[in-house]
Amino acid sequence: MKKNSGASMSDAQKFSLVKREAIYTGLALVGLIIFWLIAGFGTASLDVKIFHLPLWALLGSIGVWFFAIIISAILSKVLFKDVELGGGEDE
């Protein structure tokens, strides 16, 4: 298990980690907005169709969805660490 269990972390360390993860999420949002702009408006002038769909419509819908899934996977599986939440509720 590569993730930090968070069991030995102090409160300050936990809150610092959580803040860093929130920043990662914000940056992921910025990345998604840029991808959304390029995938849709950026390719709208291209006369390319796949399965009867204009490229902008395909990239701007399914493309954006797949990109969001990749972002969520990177955030949740790579960048985010496990933290013991306290209060006796953790496993």
Binding site: A12, V18, E21, L29, H52, I69
Partner: protein, 493 residues
């Protein structure tokens, strides 16, 4: 109510019976545990899958399944391109607030979002305003869900609007009142699964009835070229794209009904799973149902106006494309979207009244409230709010979809900066939060009432901007939060 299609009614009756059964089972299992924690946040026991599904189901309303795809039918792929911004909703709220809210809730023994706001800004007044805003705007949203669901029921089954309202409206109030948050989470999961099944079923039959994908798309290329253009020949101006990014994308992270899910999960492994599962599911639903709306041209050759407007596209497509014996299954999907949103809002509205107002003031004034009394009052508050909204929906107000979006924007204006800056910025203080929540919400409501817009953008842009400015002004001229509070929210050790 004997003029309708009985075969369309039976699956719905069965589905609602299962929802009530789940609720009774949950009530039975929870007997003997801490009632308040159990009833309002499910004792912080949600796993990743249920957390994802309940967050998605509460977020996805009946308008996502009826009005949205109807607009996609009219506008085309530009509508899907705009609606797909909602794929951000789950990973944003869980990624930004999920862990912080969970850590704080356990430290403060908080059960609601208002509990956390009260502790951060040390203000009963602000907490009372927050509770009031939640109940007020939630009632608007719930009314829209009741009305939208009952109209869909009536259009598809042939039974009356009132019959639909009683069948699914009263049942959702009953099962939410009995089972509380845990029942809401589990029924939401069933609802999300049935929504996905409903989308697949409808898509299949629309394609079949329309002569197949290639034929539908070829006909659209000839007859409706605007559908293939991002601005849809002027039907999709840039202002809609911009405001939708705020209204149903970025600002949704502060919706109390979403943030409270951060208090309810068991451990961070579950949170991480939920971020991924939720993003997959919300994208599937969004693209699936809106694409089905476009493909409905294969069975509905006229314009949206020919079928009574965009709201009637999906109900008409269901009736025209699906075999009569499957119509009942098909409408469970959109109705599930409606009831899952109602139940999610109802339990948070109830917690705002009982936990945030009543129990807080009882504790402050040293009034002892017995567990039995808390239990009765909580169930009664849930039932009374639900019943009140049910009565409003019996005589449906006009422009119901505008009321829904109005409520969405109001909640975002009130909570976005208060939560975001309050939880991540040390200089955020009581005055800033008060000015932001009260001033921003009042300005938002006033501009809505006056129909005032800037650059023809939705009033959320004015509300959210004023809310930020007021927060910053208050935070710079107001008194800094005390050290004890800051040590809880921004610990140094």
């Amino acid at each position: 109510m004997n003029e309708g299609n009985l075969s369309a009614l039976l699956p719905l009756i069965f589905f609602m019976a299962v929802m009530v059964g789940i609720s009774i089972f949950v009530r039975h299992k929870q007997a003997g545990k801490n009632f308040v924690s159990n009833y309002f946040i499910g004792n912080r026991e949600l796993g990743g899958f249920v957390l994802a599904m309940t967050t998605v189901a509460t977020y996805s309303s009946v308008s996502s399944f009826v009005g949205g795809p109807g607009m996609a039918f009219q506008v085309g792929f530009g509508w899907i391109y705009m609606a797909v911004v909602q794929v951000t909703a789950i990973f944003l709220v869980l990624g930004i607030f999920g862990k912080r809210v969970a850590l704080l809730a356990r430290k403060l023994n908080a059960v609601t979002v208002v509990d956390i706001i009260r502790a951060r800004f040390q203000s009963d007044f602000l907490a009372a305003v927050a509770a009031f805003v939640i109940v007020l705007f939630f009632c608007g949203t719930m009314t829209a869900q009741f009305v939208g669901g009952a109209k869909l029921f009536s259009a598809v089954t042939g039974y009356s609007y009132e019959a639909g309202l009683i069948l699914f409206g009263l049942v959702v109030v009953v099962y939410t009142s009995i089972g509380g948050f845990r029942a809401v989470a589990l029924t939401d999961t069933c609802c999300a699964l049935i929504m996905m099944v409903g989308i697949v079923l409808l898509l299949h039959y629309v394609l079949e009835a329309g002569g197949g994908y290639s034929q539908i798309m070829t006909t659209l290329e000839i007859n409706n070229p605007e559908i293939f253009e991002p601005f849809s020949f002027g039907n999709m101006p840039w202002t809609i794209y911009f405001t939708q990014w705020l209204l149903v994308g970025i600002c949704t992270i502060a919706l109390p009904q979403s943030v409270v899910r951060g208090i309810s999960y068991k451990n961070t492994q579950g949170l991480h799973q939920a971020m991924l599962i939720g993003t997959v599911v919300v994208g599937f639903m969004n693209i699936g149902i809106n694409f089905t709306g476009i493909l409905a041209h294969g069975v509905l050759p006229g314009s949206a106006a020919d079928y009574g407007g965009v709201d009637n596209i999906i109900p008409t497509a269901i009736v025209k494309a699906m075999p009569p014996e499957l119509v009942g299954l098909a409408i469970i999907g959109p109705l599930a979207a409606s009831i899952s949103t109602i139940s999610g809002l109802l339990i948070v509205a109830s917690s705002a009244i009982i936990k945030d107002v009543y129990l807080h003031y009882a504790e402050k004034n040293n009034h002892v409230v017995t567990p039995a009394r808390v239990k009765i009052l909580s169930i009664a508050a849930t039932a009374i709010i639900g019943a009140a909204v049910f009565v409003i929906a019996l005589t449906p107000p006009s422009l119901i979809w505008l009321i829904n979006m109005f409520a969405f924007g109001g909640l975002e204006t009130a909570f976005f900066w208060t939560l975001l800056l309050g939880l991540f910025w040390k200089k955020a203080n009581r005055l800033g939060a008060m000015l932001s929540m009260t001033g921003g919400t009042i300005i938002y409501c006033a501009t809505q009432a006056a129909g005032f817009k800037i650059l023809n953008l939705h009033q959320i842009t004015i509300g959210i901007s004023c809310s930020l400015i007021l927060f910053l002004i208050g935070s710079y001229i107001g008194k800094r939060s005390d050290d004890a509070t800051l040590e809880i929210f921004f610990p140094k050790n």
